[in-house]
Subunit: 375 residues, 2 copies
């Protein structure tokens, strides 16, 4: 599914799914339709007011007849950014690098299992964030590609372990049978362990010599922190325990989302910025950008669940309500949730002001998509 | 249990268990009795012949009446090494460092689970190897302590995951109820993941500034390689599949032991040597030492299983035979196995010739113990 979205400065034709919820059972393959638009990362007062007045993640005017490449209009002299082409090109580069990083060797079963999940598709959003952040601060693709692969390895290992019978007990992931169903539970645990370890080996061994080792050490420290008892693991532990607890409040909800989703997004961006040679100030601004879009994704997801029909969403609407799941609309109401989402997208974009607009375009496009998606 | 062992140059009174097999259900707590001896790391021709003539892991003359501290004898001017005191001191340092590295914070359940297994005792052999190798090449304890803690974290995570119901389904570890019995299976999986990740974070963040970052990056690459599809995970995968396969040969047997046991021992030594500032030549010599003692441990274990009584072993003798397990004596006979063990101890010690004898003492003591233990 796809739709056209008015971003205040242009029309963008987007794909229906960009992020996928980590515990969703059925995921659609990536679908990048027409995603070209002139770059506008500033937040002019007029635009802010308009966002505020609609106070919705649905800040769009659907117009499927309009040509998507409005950047060709003579009236708009802004540089253009072809988001679709960018995503396709980066996903291809990342997929090739991932394929090469884990060759099929002995013992074949474990490497086959690792490759089964790692190369099962996915939009490679986290690697893209890593590469874009590296580029933004003046680095080149080769500096961040091992780290970009590493964040995808970590994402994949967290999905393999989260799907285990003792966790969420899922049978499907990215439209394929889950790892433990295909290879057995023990191999799935070990494949996750191997991917976790290999992520660090790959950064340590494959990052090119033009990146100073002190930056590699810093990047490894950041990535490790994203995973453990202060990261993904912390979020998953609280998520599991909260399923049997109706007393979960806003603080706990934010903790789960920040740790399960936002932290790896943050890590992806921060690793790219560090390895690309970013200053401490640049790294911290990009960290705040990533934290905002990570949380934004979840807030928008919750709003869509209660404001859209199943047909509009392309999945069952209101399922969070049925499951009595704690969501932002449930805890603060739909309007306040929209105001919160608006605050997050503004904050995220503000972090990018001052960077080269052309190089910031992928990160702006991502933030826009998350805020203005319809499903 | 303890026994006195004649090492060719002196008498050493040893504890009964030094290493423990990773999949054994019931482990005795560390017991370091009198372990003082003059240092003799060279392998004179006379000694080699004597080892060869007995061709046994049982190269001892039990004499519990003899004083254990023969290094006080005037006839022996060699420097002495108090192995017991060394082990106690290092284990205390490591335990304090481990305790401080994983404080009990939120979410309490995951950190409590990590600490439960990490601080459950154990002889801290791998950290000791790491610290001793660092010292041997001219480093100090602080340079290698984060890495020493990291190898123990990796060892612990491998035990937690190996004990899972989908793996070996063990209820006891280090004399305590296994992690998944206490905290539940999902938390045990996550605690292992968190320890795996934290091992890398700890090296990256806590290694002092006087270690060049290029050495830290190299150490991280080495440690990661020890764990994944070319290390612990590879060994465990083959071990699990070999349990249902009576066609396992010598090549597969060595693969399992090298990957499940020897690789982490090798990593422990190599990390210490790298972080302590060892030259490439020194690192590689210590790598060969570690590979030899890792394999030696398993060969001796297999020989003892078929040559000693249950009373002598302190555990059920002949259980490998009963379980129809593939062992060295089964594949090459007892005599050939002894010759192989002899070759390994000689090779291991040869790697240490030329280093400062005083600083090499802990590594020599360890190799001696493994070769000459009685149970």
């Amino acid at each position: 599914m796809s739709c056209s979205v008015y971003l205040g400065c242009c029309w963008v034709h987007t794909s229906s799914t960009f992020f996928t919820r980590s515990r969703s059972k059925s995921l659609t393959p990536p679908s990048f339709k027409t995603l070209s638009f002139p770059i506008d990362y500033s937040i002019p007062p007029r635009r802010r007011r308009r966002i505020s007045s609609t106070a919705s993640a649905v800040l769009t005017r659907e117009d499927k007849e309009k040509p998507s490449s409005l950047h060709h209009e003579e009236s708009d002299p802004k540089p253009t950014f072809d988001f679709k082409a960018y995503m396709v090109q980066k996903a291809n580069s990342v997929n090739q690098a991932l394929d090469a990083s884990v060759p099929l060797k002995e013992p074949a079963k474990i490497h086959d299992s690792m490759r089964y999940s790692l190369l099962a598709g996915g939009k490679r959003v986290r690697p893209m964030l890593c590469l874009a952040a590296c580029d933004l601060v003046g680095g080149n693709e080769s500096m961040a590609m091992p780290a970009a692969c590493a964040v995808e390895m970590i994402h994949t290992m967290s999905l393999i372990h989260d799907d285990l019978p003792c966790m969420d007990n899922d049978d499907l992931r990215r439209g394929k049978t889950t790892n433990h169903i295909v290879y057995g539970e023990s191999v799935a645990v070990l494949a996750g362990d191997a991917l976790l370890a290999f992520a660090f080996e790959h950064i340590a061994v494959a990052t090119p010599a033009d990146v100073h080792p002190s930056r590699i050490v810093r990047a490894i420290g950041e990535l490790a922190n994203v995973i453990g008892g202060e990261g993904l693991v912390a979020g998953q532990v609280l998520d599991i325990s909260s399923e049997r607890n109706s007393e979960v409040g806003l603080k706990e909800l934010e903790f789960i989302h920040v740790h399960k989703t936002a932290k790896l997004l943050e890590g992806s961006v921060v690793l790219g910025a560090i390895l690309g040679g970013g200053s401490d100030g640049e790294v911290e601004r990009l960290r705040r950008y990533a934290r905002d879009i990570g949380l934004l994704f979840q807030v928008v997801d919750d709003i869509l669940d209660v404001t859209k029909s199943s047909q509009e969403l392309g999945k069952t609407a209101g399922k969070d309500l049925v499951a009595d799941k704690v969501t932002y609309p449930k805890l603060m109401g739909v309007e306040k949730s929209r105001e919160f989402a608006e605050k997050l997208i503004e904050e995220a974009k503000e972090q990018l002001v001052g960077f080269d607009p052309v190089k910031a375009a992928p990160l702006i496009a991502l933030a826009n998509y998350i805020a203005y998606r319809q499903n």
